[in-house]
Amino acid sequence: MSTALSAVVLLAVVAVAGFLFLRRAHLLYRVVRLGKPAGRTGEVGRRARAEATIVLGQRKLLQRLGPGLMHAFIFWGFLVLFPTIVMAFLAAVDRDWTLSWLGHQGWFFLVVDVFCMLVLVGVAAGFLIRKVQRPARFEGSHLGEADLILGLIALIVTTLLLWHATQIALGLNEWPAGWSPVSNALSGLFGDGDTTEALERVFVWLHVLTILGFLVYLPYSKHLHIATAGINVWFGRTRARGRLEPLDFEVEDEASLRLGSGTLVDMTWKQMLDTMSCTECGRCQDVCPAWATGKALSPKLLIMGLRDRLFAEGPAVLAGGEPTPLVPGAVTDEVVWDCVTCGACVRECPVSIEHVDHIVDLRRQLVMAEARFPAEAEPMLRDVGRSSNPWGKAQSERASWADGLDVRVLEPGDPAPEILYWVGCAASFDERARATARATASLMLKAGLEVAILGPRESCTGDPARRMGDEYTFQTQAQKNVATLDDAGVTRVVTSCPHCFNTLGNEYPDFGGSYEVTHHSELLSELIRDGRLDPPAGIDAITYHDSCYLARHNDVLAAPREIVSRIGRPLEMARSGKRTFCCGAGGAHMWMEERGSAINEARVREAAETGAGTLAVACPFCTMMLDDGVKQSGEELRVADVAVLLAEALDRS
């Protein structure tokens, strides 16, 4: 083929491929533009850092070293090989054309050969994982599609190596052949006759056509993530992982009132982009406590269900059609209510999908627009708003845990306290959890701190209502509590409950309440460090269970461990720290019936496997759930809050 003819053919092929790609890309772009606003602007520094670590550095993928390296080899390989694509397109037109400078650099071709081999190793590892190891996280994923994509990647790299080999055999290489160990070795397969001349053309064109085919296939497959993941990571959450986006109830007209996600047009554009970024790797499914205990929810299948609905209905909606309800069409009611909002999926996801936000938005619609939710949770929603606590207890009993302790109950008009102890409903009312409040308060007193509480004026933060989807009740509580706290002149809050900790610290700023919020484990470890509490060392084996809202959502890992290692012999569970496994109470599940096997029992068994006799916790809900789990499973474990354990250790001294 002459240079001119080759150029015409290549341009024609590129034009067709480009048209097919852009047509699909434009459609997807218009679908995403249907989405509601999601903020996510500003904070360029944090976004750039996320892009550098999560995308370029493959940080999330490398949390699992084997599959992570497999992906990183392929990903880094293609970054490095990008100039060779340009070179191949040039050479497809005329075999003597190449990039003017780079095409002559020996070191570059060494890098190319090395990364070609790494990509091939990655592909081989990918097949090995999928065909031999077959991890459960792929259950429900499109496996055939993945095989095709791995095959295409292998083909692209192989044709590149063979093309370079034939170039070397024919003496067409503009770089010293010695720099290309693999291509140079392969060149021995070829002579310098007509056959090789023809093969050189075949390989370069096969290479170019495979790349263009891949380009067209991309936006129709789950491999779309190549185009979307980088964008999705850029627009991911930048701070306060535990914070939910508030709904705006003060809208001008009712039509613009968004009550979560009813149909696809209620989703935010970020949520739509989430679904298009999913590559069905199943890391989320692997860490999901609901899925692990036989429930209907898999975060992966949730996102896939929403994506399928988006692709099925999006084009029709763009043409003026009416969207249909997401629940139960795309996602079943069961799935929506199985979530414990532990955030394990969000933390694991390599492309910054925010599964919990999807779930909460679906719940908001069901609760506030349709009043459709598990009936047994209704008393909780009512009691949070009506009785200021989720169990409908009398507020007058809120401070009775403090009977006999020198605890100051703040009356309106009292001078502002240095530290306010925000006890939380669980530690205020539940007999088991009250031990935590008593221990925390008495330790603060022992260390010479004043303990001031709001008593009957403390009211549920609204967290369970919010996680249940009842945003309205939550905001009512938030406004009420911010007014109480501001009236009392509170600036610093210590709380025993990780849920209150998260809500007060991360969510109340949205309602005008800004306080320095500390968890009691942080305060107590600080008092130990300062020598104001000096417990004797202990020998008991203690395993510490991280609360999701403390560890994963808020990075409080070290403080409770400092207490445990000071008073006993710490033993870590298989899943700990930010990769902790939920106790089963989150997402308002404290007030819902559980289907399938029990999450708390699974966690208690894991704790018992460490051989520890004590299961330390730092959350009153974890206390209740795991204590129940011990009784249900018959394991020999004592569940106690770190504050209780610390107080006991000091009593012994």
């Binding site: 047994e376 949770a377 008393p379 909780m380 009512r382 009691d383 009506r386 009785s387 169990w391 409908g392 207890k393 669980a426 009312f429 539940d430 007999e431 088991r432 404290m590 007030w591 819902m592 019936e593 559980e594 029990a598 209740m624 129940d628 009784k631 249900q632």
Partner: protein
């Protein structure tokens, strides 16, 4: 002043909340005794005993053989307009509130639900009503040509010292087709049968201490002797020993018996939220530190599998 009271009844026996509603209605009726309406599919209806009303109008229609709230509301509206009633009062039960809500919707007038006191004013009435599950009393004025209210059940005593039985008159209301569309067509009893947990005067519950589904035998035995309903804790339904319909707790049934016998139940907060309406709690538990002991009026420390059979034997011996 003509006041009309809607009375609920079961086969002619007017229930307690309706008698309380009639009692409160008198405070709006001035010198005249209120008039009443009952809905029935059987005429004549044998209303037993004296009632604190002058006349009972029996709205007769085959639709009233089962619960048909909109139809009852249309009958009330028809009679209220015929009698030129200045107020319509009903019991603040679930059904009473629903019927009166329909009346309010038909007349396009405000309804004050769950009142415990009422008096007339120049342009309507002044009421005291229970809000937020009993934690708040609200004083409110109603400005309306016809006062509509329901009376909070069991908040005021019923006056049954009427001098004479009321006159009974029947009338046939003209009901719209729409009103007849919504009614109960079939009743399916709960699978377990027996006494309803929510209404039982005595409830005997078992918890994790029962040990197994079979471990409920002594609980059921005692319940049968006492004419009590059988309940259980969440741990029991989680373990699959009893159906969820038996669960006492915040996520199950809320109960308000005169006596609650909780056996082998530790008393988790969610359970106590379901039985806080109990007048007396007897806890039987082997754990002296069980949280339920803090709320129990009586406690027996010991194994429920020994104590329950002993109580049952004692009851048998005594009867």
């Amino acid at each position: 002043m003509s006041v009309l009271v809607y009375l609920e009844h079961a086969d002619g026996a007017v229930d307690e909340p309706s008698l309380q509603a009639a009692t409160l209605a008198r405070s709006l009726a001035g010198d005249h005794a209120p008039q009443a309406l009952v809905a029935s599919d059987t005429v004549p209806l044998g209303l037993g005993g004296p009632l604190p009303v002058a006349t009972v109008y029996v709205a007769a229609h085959e639709a009233f053989g089962s619960y048909a709230p909109r139809a009852v509301a249309e009958a009330i509206v028809e009679l209220a307009e015929r009698q030129e009633a200045t107020a319509v009062v009903g019991p603040g039960t679930e059904r009473g509130n629903e019927v009166l809500a329909h009346v309010a919707a038909i007349l396009d007038l405000p309804l004050a639900a769950n009142c415990i006191a009422a008096s007339t004013t120049d342009d309507g009435a002044e009421v005291t009503r229970v809000r937020w599950g009993g934690s708040l009393l609200e004083h409110a004025r109603i400005h309306a040509p016809r006062t509509l209210l329901t009376v909070q059940p069991h908040a005021i005593p019923a006056d049954t010292d009427a001098p004479a039985p009321p006159a009974i008159e029947s009338f046939t209301p003209s009901l719209s087709a729409a009103a007849l569309a919504r009614r109960v067509v079939e009743r399916v009893g709960a699978a377990t049968g027996g006494i309803s947990l929510a209404d039982a005067k005595v409830v005997v519950s078992g918890g994790r201490g029962a040990g197994s589904a079979e471990g409920f035998a002594p609980v059921e035995e005692l319940a049968a002797l006492l004419g009590a309903a059988v309940g259980c804790s969440r741990a029991v339904t989680m373990a699959g020993w009893r159906p969820h319909t038996d669960q006492v707790g915040q996520t199950g049934t809320k109960i308000a018996p005169d006596l609650y016998i909780a056996c082998g139940i530790s008393g988790a907060t969610q359970h106590m939220a379901g039985c806080k309406g109990a007048k007396r709690i007897l806890a039987i538990n082997s754990d002296r530190d069980a949280p339920i002991l803090a709320s129990a009026d009586y406690a027996v420390i010991g194994d429920m599998h020994e104590i329950l059979p002993a109580i049952s034997a004692a009851i048998r011996a005594a009867s």
